[in-house]
Amino acid sequence: MKKVCFIYGSPKEKNSSSYYFIDSIIKILDSNYVKCNIVRICDALRNEDEFKNIISADKIVIVSPLYLDALPSTVIEFFVKFEKYIKKHNIEKKSVYAVVNCGFIEGNQSNLALDMVKHFARKVDFNWRFGISVGGGEVMLCSRKVISLKGVIKRPVYKALLALKSDIENNITDERENIMTNANITKGLFMFMGHRYWMFMARKNNLSFKDLYRKIY
């Protein structure tokens, strides 16, 4: 039985794109062969005992949002602490994957964040496998009840997650390139949907469209 630990990098409880991807991946993994657990980075930063839940796994999947072209500060902080823990306790090699989702439609905007996970894996002598960079993470989350992950629109992302599933469940050693992907929507439609979303949220908070442009300095 393979053990996989998902390290959840978003500061939000569960209503996040990152959690949506963790949930989706767990659902497509074969539970007869793979046992999964999830560790929140925020919890691991508060309590080092959480590291034991990570190192009990054979494979680690970092799932994180993209914050300004890179991993969030909490993920960097976690890597620094986890690196010290690994070296202190002489932890055996694990396989490492990453799934980073960004708010922009282009999946390749998360490239640097995937590289950062790779650099961490190499620093602790873990086996970096590959990463998936998903554009339009919020679109995937907001439409989860109306558009299936397997449907035409989200299929490129689904295929990327299947590649992850295959690597996790089998003993593949060949080097793999990162996968850049996003839902099948145009840039124009993405921008239109994004703007409408922010206007909707503004109205919910009794703000006008013009209020969102406020300059306070």
Partner: protein, 182 residues
């Protein structure tokens, strides 16, 4: 005015040397406002988006990041001195970068065929980053420099520069280059 953010602690010999040369080299010409990891509290971003949809332009968390965001808009140069961690900034510096999104709008623009955020203000400072450390791999260095460029595009910096310092020998030449830039 130079807004100078750094993560230098008492035990960072290389960081302290760089910081001293920055202060010595730049304070004669310019006012320097400094924020340091061990003296100024900045919490990590909670991803709540209140700075966009509840209190536009203002972060919900009351700490030094609010003042840093204000000074960013008022300064001529945003200068960062950061340890390089896995090709990224240190977590303290990254907290400041993450918490800078109130200075941006939630709306999109296209820049060089890529989607980015629109800017809230019309003017942003020069963006200068010095990464330091004595165990930075070549690959981490490449990632770090790409990150600075990507951030400069998102921050709509008027000018940007990125440097890596691995030992004290090249501190002077980096500071001289910064002086020519600013």
């Amino acid at each position: 005015m130079i807004l100078f953010i750094n993560d230098v602690g008492e035990e960072d010999v290389l960081g302290k040397n760089i910081r001293s040369e920055i202060i010595r080299g730049l304070h004669i010409r310019d006012e320097i406002r400094e924020y340091n990891e061990y003296e100024n509290n900045v919490q990590s971003c909670e991803g709540c988006f209140q700075c966009w949809i509840k209190t536009p332009g203002l972060c919900a968390i009351h700490d030094d990041a609010r003042e840093i965001n204000k000074l960013t808009i008022e300064s001529d140069v945003f200068l960062i001195l950061s340890k390089v961690r896995y090709g990224c900034y240190s977590s303290y510096i990254k907290r400041i970068i993450d918490r800078s999104i109130p200075n941006r709008l939630p709306f999109f623009r296209v820049d060089k065929y890529e989607v980015h955020l629109e800017q809230r203000y019309t003017r942003y400072p020069a963006f200068i980053v010095i990464g330091y450390g004595d165990e930075i791999s070549d690959d981490e260095e490449v990632t770090f420099k790409k990150l600075i460029r990507a951030n400069a595009i998102n921050l709509k910096a008027s000018v940007y520069r990125g440097y890596i310092i691995k030992d004290s020998d090249n501190i002077f030449s980096v500071i001289e280059d910064i002086k020519r830039t600013v």
